[in-house]
Subunit: 288 residues, 2 copies
């Protein structure tokens, strides 16, 4: 493992501040930057590190924790200012971010595109947690130009937060993210969106199930519009396909209603497949 | 509040055993019955009460915690054996259960159909928790024949578990349950079902979001087939409508993909509506 003594985090929202807190807990020196001085101050007050200054020496690693749309620009400027020996980002989409960084002329030898697969529906430094990444996956998507040394440094940092690292290429990451993150987010949003018109006397009856299914629907609209925009085509196909699955289910339900409850085998098959998929998810994850 | 000194629970699965544990914690004497002697023994060992015997005096209340399909038969037999002064059930659908109990010739003066709006994807007495209902709604659906005294007893019992009681008619309950419970369950199942064919290398990347959205998909297939069968028509309409909403979203995504990310306003509107619905849910619930 590479030794890591100093990290600069640019973007002190939920993810950036959580990375900073986790690294501070492991004795790493952390410097903080954000376009909002308030966000830096808040993160620093939480013990996430100290504000970055122009006099600081280059860090071992710069973590760019800004929305996908801004990664290329922030990375370019950080490299121009020589803020660190290597760089990573944490955006939920990788191929479009890499393409934008290429267009911007970033140095790829020192850049390891990455994505910690943990988050929250909340935002801002005050919602950060040092254990946000513990037991969760952290995807690393080095390009053919990325140096082995940079991969080693980012791997070290990710593992220090308690995450389990996996290397895969950016396209594979984006296809996976569509299935495991972007589709569920939209499904949760659309389901929650229906509740906007439901009377409170009905909603007050809701139990844990609805709370869990709709939790991520509270996510930041601008961030998620940005993420989904950058992975729109594969997500569109998945959403379409899920809608088709639901049409099959509504047909099953109509048949059950029409025949007075006899032959609900189709319905049971849908639920059994749900059991199987959930089980496969639990057994596949590192934390399970 | 009516005084409650002795309750009999028939059906010592997750819900029945949790009711028993909650009432035991409040000093109520609890007797347990189930078609499975093992389930009764397990519940008793957990401190949920003692097995019901033929020599027992009638209880103040009999809680029938069996799947919807069996409520009428179990209620009829319990009333014939004079097991209690009044009766309630906990099934997730109310109008069909009431209709079945009417057909079976049950005594409605002593019967308060009810539904505690809390549960878990797990089953069996070992998964029970005394605090399962704390802060959650418990719907009471008395019929025109139900006595005020019976309503008072069931209200007392529900409140002793920490639940917040609401009275509404059975049809209103079933419409509400379709929106807040049955639709989300199916959405979670269908989404989880898609994961059954996804490779573990993809699933191991999944974070908390997917775990939460698919949690209820692990629910018992027979129980949920039973529940959905009894509310099939309203749920079919909601599933259809949600599928239509998703088709609109996939169209938005295709447009965003086609125009290179410009004018993602439609997508942002979907996410904003999700924010609003989630907020409305949180502010409507008693526990929030």
């Amino acid at each position: 493992m590479s030794s890591l003594s100093c990290v600069t985090v640019i973007g002190t929202g939920l993810i950036g501040t959580s990375v900073a807190l986790a690294l501070r807990d492991r004795g790493v020196e952390v410097r903080l930057a954000d376009h909002s001085p308030d966000a830096v101050r808040q993160a620093a007050e939480l013990g996430a590190g100290v504000p970055l200054t122009d006099q600081d020496q280059p860090a071992d690693l710069v973590v760019i924790a800004v929305p996908p749309l801004y990664v290329a620009e922030v990375l370019y400027n950080a490299q121009r200012r020589e803020l660190g020996a290597c760089y990573t980002d944490v955006a939920s989409v990788k191929a479009p971010v890499i393409a934008a960084a290429e267009r911007r002329g970033c140095d790829f030898a020192a850049f390891v595109p990455s994505h910690p697969m943990a988050g929250s529906e909340r935002k801002g430094p005050a919602t950060a947690r040092a254990d946000l990444f513990a037991g969760h996956a952290w995807a690393l998507c080095p390009t053919s130009a990325t140096s082995a040394a940079a991969v080693e440094v980012v791997t070290s940092a990710a593992r220090l937060t308690g995450a389990v690292t996996y290397e895969l290429d950016a396209e594979a990451h984006d296809r996976a993210a569509a299935v495991i993150s972007h589709l569920p987010h939209l499904v949760s949003s659309v389901l929650a969106g229906r509740l906007a018109g439901v009377d409170p006397a009905t909603l007050r009856l809701a139990g844990r199930g609805l709370l869990d299914v709709t939790r991520v629907a509270a996510g930041d609209v601008r961030l998620w519009t940005d993420i989904l925009t950058h992975n729109a085509k594969p997500v569109a196909e998945l959403v379409d396909s899920l809608a088709d699955d639901l049409k099959v289910v509504s047909e099953e339900l109509r048949q059950v209603a029409a025949n007075g409850g006899a032959s609900a085998d189709g319905l049971a098959a849908v639920l059994s497949k749900g059991n199987a998929g959930r089980e496969r998810l639990l057994t596949s994850r590192p934390a399970s």
